[in-house]
Homo-oligomer: 451 residues x 2
């Protein structure tokens, strides 16, 4: 028979069993942490009507869409989880209770140019809180607390959540009478880390006709740094010149104060006036999260406050706040940088059971007892030589191997080899599953990331 | 602004938060149970190259494929999880250890005619064990044990796993010299439940020119029923006439014997000679699982043993055995038949915290303590009247509401209202999170299905 070459499309992450197990662990920590904060799981279709999905899209995004027809229907694959959320909330408005808090971890599709570390199919892991008409500011402070908890549970320590407030930026540019140029200015300022202050000023003045003195004011403004208290204090110096700015400053101070109530350590967040996050969508607090030792990766968790989630579908005013983790990209970086914890087992099973008797009943009974105790157990019954069996155990990286020979069965014990230490002990059959469960629980306390 | 009507495509399941929470619970039980048996999680792309995905497909399946081009690339959405597994194993053969045991729970796509209870996007939840060249028969007995455990953990009791062996069927038709008609005969026999024995005979004789006496032999054969022991004993009467039949009978006896070692009660499985499952693919044990009170639903978990997983991609002989649960369809049926357990909370949070003080710090601290104790906690801080807050608590169906007023804070206590019983008690702030965790753990012991 003519064979087809088995291959996976470029830009599509497909992991081997070990890394996949690590990925699942990360994914579950995200889901469980989100759930602890009262976010309900949501799952929307990967395929939507193009009319619905592209109600807002345009430009770069639209080019990347996987769009096609089936029969007479114009379909598209979702490119984020926010548009499906907007659709869902508009559609089910009368059946939902507000504030509506949901998390969604799912695959999204963008036909980007394929390059290392860029994916066309990737997981996003989002949380959003949606209000009906209004939404309390405390939600803007709780979101970074969720980010902090999530990354901490993953084992990441060296990260910083940068926060800013769009009202401060918009108010500031209004003070300078640059409101109509604010978009261009912010896009340029966004490049500060990459191109430096001098080049930013040059672009502002030459490309966007910003008067040189105001370009200096902008550079002075975004150069405000220091502790959060110092930055807030410097911002107080601008108070009274624009009401939107003042409101933004109040919000930023409130969020910053609550953050400490939520237990987010000062070292893990920073007021950063250079953060803007897109142009039209966000209207209040905005977030970015960077890994301090890998700033080149950019933000691994971003989001912010918006005033109008679903304006393309409904007249209802639905303000919200949310963040998104690009899970596939994050995992790629963690693996690439060697940050995944090698102490955590990635074996498909906790114990590999090798029956050495003709009658398999005792081995089957032991496997069943292990599983009842919550221990993942695999029977290995292929008729191979002992050496081949142990080589299989080594290859899958199983932490424990259990031998059940005639001797063991006669004496009601099982020989268990700890594959990490090489130690081998006999244990009573009745006690071994609980003992294994204890050992495994201890091993599983480690976090997926080891810095 | 012109609004686009928010809608979800027909044939695509999109659940409200309550049912979605139940769905997630079911999905997690499947994943956790599969993992207990040493199956490793796998995740393959939803999109594959059409050349790879359709290497085998044809006929009805191919018509249902979501197929499209992006740039110059001919792409298709996966229509099951077996073809991607075959691709994966062929592609990563040198990096995998055999037997390779994987589970995969993911969405697949088939553009079927939309009708109630039929979905175009649906989850399948598969397990497979793949051998390299050979695979021990015990795996064919362990698979129904996994099915039994899975359904039992879901809370389903009234189900039966029907097993048969394709070698018995093929051997039997060889005895009757009907091998070349075996496909047509089995397809016809498959309709026995629906159309009755008389009609089956009529089709066999008139449409497929099976001699009448052999049609009677076929009907007599598939009419063999009784306890498993009785059926096996009746089959012994055919022994010695065809070596393939004899081999199949030996396998069936082995599998049946091991099933009891694996702890599958006799009432939950039955040897059933009418089960055939497809035509070319399966070569040994085959499985179907029916809900005894809802036979009209058909099989909710099916699969079997096959000799050659990946023949379209590789010359390697890769025999395996696996099953698939049509999770979306199963969930639809469970909801439709009112079988989901109403005792299990579907609220997004375990406790809703209502701060009644100006200073939110004590409420935030209490929320943080609850989360640290594993209790899902939501702060409700919207500036609404008390009645509106309690109405929100009712609507989301939260089991506990915690009140923190000036009195409580001054006395270091929290008032907790059990929303099920209506009882309200004050508890010390330091003890309340652990107490809540205990209550919630007790509530969560219930199974998702209540028969």
């Amino acid at each position: 028979m003519e064979k087809v070459k088995a291959r996976t499309l470029s830009g599509f992450m497909e992991l081997l069993p070990g890394p996949q197990t690590q990925f699942e662990r990360v994914r579950r920590i995200l889901a469980d942490t989100y759930a602890l904060y009262g976010f309900t799981p949501l799952d929307t279709p990967v395929i939507e009507s193009s009319e619905v999905l592209l109600a807002k899209a345009g430009g770069e995004t639209e080019k990347q869409i996987y769009r096609f027809t089936k029969g007479d229907t114009d379909l598209s694959l979702r490119f984020d989880l926010t548009v499906p959320l907007a659709k869902y909330v508009a559609m089910h408005y009368n059946e939902l209770s507000f504030p509506f808090r949901r998390y969604q971890i799912g695959k999204v599709y963008r036909g980007e140019r394929a390059q290392r570390g860029r994916f066309r199919e990737f997981y996003q892991a989002d949380i959003d809180v949606i209000g009906d008409g209004s939404l309390d500011i405390i939600n803007e402070a709780e979101i970074p607390a969720v980010i902090y908890q999530t990354f901490t549970k993953l084992g990441l320590k060296r990260f910083r959540i940068r926060i800013n407030n769009r009202k401060i930026l918009n108010g500031f540019y209004a003070m300078l009478e640059l409101t109509d140029k604010a978009g261009d200015v912010m896009r340029t300022v966004d490049k500060l880390d990459k191109i430096g202050a001098e080049k930013v000023k040059e672009i502002l003045v030459e490309d966007f006709a910003v008067p040189a003195d105001r370009a200096d004011e902008i550079l002075a403004f975004i150069a405000i740094t220091g502790t959060n208290a110092q930055v807030l204090s410097a911002l107080e110096g601008y108070r009274g010149r624009n009401p939107l700015f003042d409101q933004g400053l109040d919000e930023l101070k409130t969020v910053t104060a609550y953050l400490s109530d939520f237990g987010v350590p000062e070292e893990n967040f920073a007021v950063d006036l250079t953060i803007a996050r897109g142009l039209d969508y966000y209207t209040g607090t905005v977030y970015e999260t960077i890994m301090l030792d890998h700033p080149e990766v950019g933000s691994v968790c971003s989001g912010g406050r918006y005033d109008n989630l679903a304006e393309y579908y409904t007249d209802k005013q639905l303000p919200g706040v949310g963040i998104s983790i690009g899970l596939t990209r994050l995992f790629f970086v963690l693996e690439d940088e060697g940050m995944l914890n090698p102490d955590l087992s990635t074996a498909p099973t906790d114990v590999l059971i090798l029956p050495m008797t003709e009658d398999l009943s005792p081995a089957i009974a032991f496997a069943t007892a292990c599983r009842a105790a919550g221990v993942r157990a695999q029977l290995y019954t292929e008729p191979k030589k002992f050496k081949a069996k142990m080589s299989y155990a080594d290859k899958i990286g199983v932490p424990y191997v259990a031998f059940l020979g005639d001797d063991e069965v006669a004496n009601g014990v099982v020989s268990i080899k700890d594959m990490t230490s090489g130690d081998q002990d006999k244990r009573p059959l009745a006690e071994a599953p609980a003992w294994l469960a204890g050992q495994i629980a201890q091993r599983n306390q480690a976090t997926p990331i080891k810095e």
